[in-house]
């Protein structure tokens, strides 16, 4: 790791000011589950790290009926064990409980994961499927507007993810097929039957441009929210990632298989 310095702001405004002071050399830290390993490998050299996890406005979970709001600095472990989320959106709590390992779940945050948009991160698939809203210090964006492509989001400079909110789906299901080495998702699917009756299918780990919505599946499932509705569909191999762990053909197959398994679990 290169030499760096560490700042712990107590407000969003202070964090934004520090970010401006850093003149492009500063990095926001919200758990650091990607950033710290990257720095340890000397692939990133921010002059200053601005730790968001101690800003009270970014913390906390509120559940009001089916309306859920999760502060950006909330850890995966807090989400996984939150009674309100477990009751209203059990599949979302289940997803959080399967991220990484216990150490990762107690350090990593939803805001950090969403802002980083790793192509194998778990939350984006769910947020796309559910139709969540991403809140920043300046605006609100739908998940569709926010997630642009691999490691690319709509975030501007000096913009911080402050919260994620969504309406708990009538039914949701999460299935993750892990990469044997990293244990990140090689293909993971979140299926959601939204309160308005529409269906969302979010896929992560498999696509060649980050998490995406499998719209053909969404149409097929809007008639019948059951795995058999996917039988006639094929996934476009051209949109799939290909690497030493799996070809695009394999990932296309996984997408359908994993989606069916997510549906089988949906509740």
């Amino acid at each position: 790791m290169y030499e760096t310095s560490y700042q712990r702001p107590s407000s969003i405004d202070e964090a934004i000011k520090l970010l401006g002071d850093g003149e492009g050399e500063a990095k926001l830290l919200s758990g650091g589950m990607t950033l710290i390993p990257t720095m340890k490998q000397r692939l990133a050299m921010p002059s200053v790290l601005i730790d968001l996890r101690h800003i009270s406005d970014l913390k906390g979970i509120s559940v009001d009926g089916s309306k859920i709001r999760i502060g950006g600095a909330t850890t995966h472990a807090e989400i996984a064990r939150h009674d309100g989320i477990k009751a209203a959106a059990p599949s979302f709590a289940y997803l959080a409980g399967l991220i990484g390992d216990p150490a990762v779940r107690h350090m990593g945050t939803i805001g950090g994961s969403v802002a980083n948009f790793d192509p194998a991160a778990d939350y984006p698939a769910a947020l796309l499927a559910i139709g969540a809203t991403i809140h920043t210090n300046t605006r609100e964006l739908s998940a569709d507007e926010f997630f642009l492509g691999m490691f690319e989001t709509a975030l501007e400079e000096n913009e911080i993810v402050t919260a994620v909110s969504f309406e708990a789906p009538q039914a949701g299901g999460w299935e993750k097929f892990r990469n044997p080495a990293s244990r990140y998702a090689m293909c993971a699917v979140f299926v959601a039957k939204r309160t308005d009756g529409s269906v969302g299918v979010g896929v992560t780990g498999a696509g060649n441009n980050g998490a995406f919505r499998w719209t053909e599946a969404e149409s097929a499932l809007s008639g019948s929210f059951d795995g058999s509705a996917l039988d006639g569909l094929t996934v476009d191999e051209g949109a799939m990632m290909s690497d030493i762990h799996g070809t695009s053909a394999y990932r296309a197959n996984l997408t359908k298989v994993v989606a069916k398994r997510a549906l089988a679990k949906a509740k």
Partner: protein, 781 residues
Amino acid sequence: MGVEGIGAKVLRKEDRRFITGRGRYVDDMSVPGMKHGAFVRSPHAHAKIKGIDTSAAREMPGVIDILDGQQLKADRIGNLICGWAVSSKDGSPMKMGAYPALADETVRYVGQPVAIVVAETRAQARDAAEVVMVDYEEMPAVVGSEAALADGAPQLHPEAEGNLCFDWEIGDEAAATSAISGAAHITRMKIINNRLVPNPMEPRAALGHYDPAEDHYTCWTTSQNPHVARLVMSAFYNVAPEHKLRVIAPDVGGGFGSKIYIYPEEIVCLWASKRTEVPVKWTSDRTEAFLTDAHGRDHVTHVEMAFDADHKIVGLKVDTKANLGAYMSLFSSATPTYLYATLLSGQYDIPAIYANVKGVYTNTAPVDAYRGAGRPEATYVVERTIETAARELGLSPAELRRKNFIRSFPHQTPVIMNYDTGDFEATLEAGMKAADVAGFEARREEAKGRGKLRGLGMSCYIEACGIAPSKAVGSLGAGVGLWESAEVRVNPVGTVEILTGSHSHGQGHETTFAQLVAERFGLPIDNVQIVHGDTDKVQFGMGTYGSRSGAVGMSAIVKALDKVEAKAKKIAAHVLEADEGDIVIENGEVKVVGTDKKLGWHEVCLGAYTGHNLPDGMEPGLKEGAFYDPQNFTFPAGCYICEVEVDPETGTTEIIQFVAADDFGNIINPMIVEGQVHGGLAQGIGQALLEGTHYDEAGQLVTASYMDYAMPRAWDLPMFKVETLVTACTTNPLGIKGCGEAGAIGSPPAVINAITDAIGNNDLSMPATPEKVWNAIHAAS
């Protein structure tokens, strides 16, 4: 047997410090004035070094000195050696490519050290190392052994035309060819044994300390054999004279073979300390470990196994290309030759065997012995082939093996080895019973109902441990003898120190070696201290690898204990006025049989040191040493049975059950043996299902971190069923064979045999990742 003697499940003495984080490893060592080294490493798989510019790096904060290959050469530091000379079939010696500890003209693998920066802190050294400007002229690279042998392949070493280091053979080619040509059935296969990265928990480290006042050198290093390191560093590398060099290998966190070798880094740290007159420490990070620890396996083999009409094997021919990496490592010539092809007879009575092995240079990290070292490769060839033959012949895998088992001992194979003892039928029976093979078809049907593919695979391995008679290995090209030494020091109060040339880096020697004393004198193991890993304390030793610490290291201790016991009995007989032959030592007492006359063990020991009442002419003291040279290898063997369930939709393999029925001879501590089997199985299953080392065509290691290199984790493994049977080894005093590698040797073919049985396609290579299995299912349907 005392409660802590041979056969007792004693808890490991060393675990208290290991599991409470109090182990002391090389990186924990610190000496006054110590500075830190960081290596400048080649980013290219093959390039000429046109020049090295250190001017900017020298201006970086904290930099003390920067040393490169030209300075190393000027100081006449010798090139790295290979400790085992093999010859090609035409009689010519193997072709060693020059391997300087810091590359001076050419780099041949990514990660090869080019220079060292010595600085005040580790971070400063690494910062400066990045600023050292090396002017490289890139050259084409080759990474696979078959590609490297092809016409027009990039050439690595001027010494080795066609990248061929050796073209070695063993056995009778004419006899094997003739047996195969007249055979009723021939099974032919191409078998690839995948390259592995060792990944011990503790990465390598070295601390070199030259003391100008005493003109003396100390090197702390992560070594499985510190005495060999000292010998090689002084006799061949010219870093320090042997009598002025102390090598210490303290707690070492796993080796699996990768810490046998003397690497460039420890040589350079010691030399840099002499040059700079400051102690220099370097600790590998995980990326450096992936790039530069000697890798394992990497064989491409064509095999023909021939049967007569009664299904008896009549001949076996094996053609193997072994990827050696860019340079020879310390034992990399022996691993794919004498440690591999000598085991190709397996558990079977095969009249004619011939093997040809080509050792091939490629632009990859050097390859050497890794847990099992040659025997996993041999076992994989034999056990994949015989299982395939059974399928082709329509016989059950057990039946075909039974027809061909060796049943009388000693048995001389056509490939050097002479098996002293074994009972292969017994381990097969025990394995099949524990695995409930009889009930398998019902379980397969049940799984089918759930949409899953069940398969059963077997592996009947034999391996050779306790390397080995010095005269025999010397005649085969080894540069050293492979005996072991021990010294038993009995203190005046009766406590015991055992100095051993074996080295413990996870094996539990502090417990098992003490159990020998508990057995012999009835002392508690807490009264026994094991001393190892320091050339200033232990006079000499050959170290720990090849499951030799029990069969060879403990045998040396037994010999020394014999001498201590004899002297103690003489003293007691003199004091008690009894006949020496009537003295027995048990439960900490030295007694005259059939009488109530006795002395406490401590009284005899004190008497030895006061010298007040010793037999005439006896020297005072109670300390004896011994060297033990084994008479033969030992031959652990067993039967492993793996049952898997494959998910045809994703290709995922779940191991439902894994049975290991092993014959390790006599056992000192059954709990430690079981732990060794578990660890070995985890590594073998890791090789079979998960661990794939991938270089791209340019020679970049794609799998250089745990993001891409899949290590086995607890959830990949089932609860193991481990059984042990005993035929005592006939060639060492304890009757023990060794257990450290069997799990890694025997398990990969069992896993692959099970998966191929499940999916109905035999064309499957390791690691059998979900994607590969899924593709194999689709290719078959």
